[in-house]
Symmetry: D2
Subunit: 140 residues, 4 copies
């Protein structure tokens, strides 16, 4: 069972913008990279082609404390903060050594869908739920 994941990452050039810093939309991709690595660590994949289950994002946020620049290395630390029957919540900290870069949140829900049909809310399958747990000390 996994409850958190830490990933080290370097800023790529195509992630920067004309202000010379990483574009703010990239932080959501960084957070998602860590989320998917957490799932892999748990023996899971967030997207299994042909599966009837999916995990769309329903809410997300980021607060930015410092800018990230080209070739800068930083850490992404994602933690599971809540699991309900149909949703999972995470928080995510980006840091460079002792410096806090940004803090994000993400809520995903479980859905079932048939080919080209609408997505319908669903309970998280047991084989997934049994492999993820809330991180110790995570904010309520």
């Amino acid at each position: 069972m996994a409850s958190e994941y830490r990933l080290r990452r370097r800023v790529q050039f195509y992630e920067t913008d004309a202000a010379g810093i990483v574009h703010f939309s990239w932080f959501f991709r960084y957070m998602e990279e860590a989320e998917h690595a957490l799932w892999r660590e748990s023996g899971l994949s967030i997207h299994v082609p042909g599966s009837e289950y999916g995990f769309p994002r329903v809410s997300t946020s980021f607060d930015y404390h410092r800018a990230l620049r080209f070739e800068q290395e930083f850490d992404i630390h994602i933690r599971v903060t809540a699991i309900t029957r149909k949703s999972i919540q995470y928080t995510c900290e980006l840091t460079d050594g002792e410096t806090r870069i940004a803090r994000g949140t993400l809520t995903i829900v479980c859905v079932r869908h048939r080919a080209n049909g609408p997505m319908v809310s669903a309970e998280i399958p047991d084989e997934i739920r049994s492999r993820l747990q809330v991180a110790p000390g995570a904010p309520a």
Copy 2:
């Protein structure tokens, strides 16, 4: 003086992901497109090369109600909800006709910076502040 902007937009193929819908990180870019169009409408540019002023994002969020799909058309409606001496807040609604797609928020601050030096918090210059105002009826 401008306080809101409405933009019609079509989903591009490169904005979709393997789940067949627009990747959630794109909504932040949609919101920013509308923000920059609002500034242009006011005779301003959010990024003037060589200017000592910049407007980094310090906080942003999105709640997702419906998915967007390839070639779908939708509206982006951004509104200024608060202006302080050093910051501007917006809310943003994405809709397709009567259907609510998503709702976002964005807070930016004014900074001054010298070449390769750190960014320092600054007051929004008058020539910018005088051209933007809070939208009537915007949530407090």
Copy 3:
């Protein structure tokens, strides 16, 4: 029947990089935007969910003559230069008034695929082929 398409476009902030210009990878997306608009003009969609046909890219290139900058407006002009039983070729010119910005090429092929199975080369369906033609005066 359509053979070419012209699209006017403005550079978005998230398309720029720390060198202050549009990142070179974006030109391929600009070209594809125009390609998909050409297909729509012909009453077609390049990606129909659930369809067994797809049109993956097999070869593409760009030569860059000038940089594009934030908020710059430019034209994308795509033309069909060849259609064979299984492939379509395009050239694409990016210009700003009389100034040539870049020139690209793109070759796509038709494939059939079943859910999660491999893609297999296929002939372009007649209802698609009958709606596209080589642009007059296009380079051989």
Copy 4:
């Protein structure tokens, strides 16, 4: 002195599109990741903030042999194939084990620029040129 670089990489979710495969524009970013890693390996950075030198791309291409899918691992192998007074050429192979995924080319040139002024063609500085060399056995 460095002449080639090999990078192992996993496909991220945001790199896929609604066809279920990596969008073709991403291959150019993969190639650039390897290029910048090659420069770092040589003790260089392709983008030094405040430097008067820059290295814009003037020509690039990719031929695609196989699709890449979410979470697939692959290798990027970039090699310097030519260095002139003002330009550098690379080829790049993407592979997954024995399977060839794609093959790219890239030509960059050296320019000098002043703040907000135009870019002017320039000779590659000796301290850069002395650290890069053509890879043995590279195609002419």
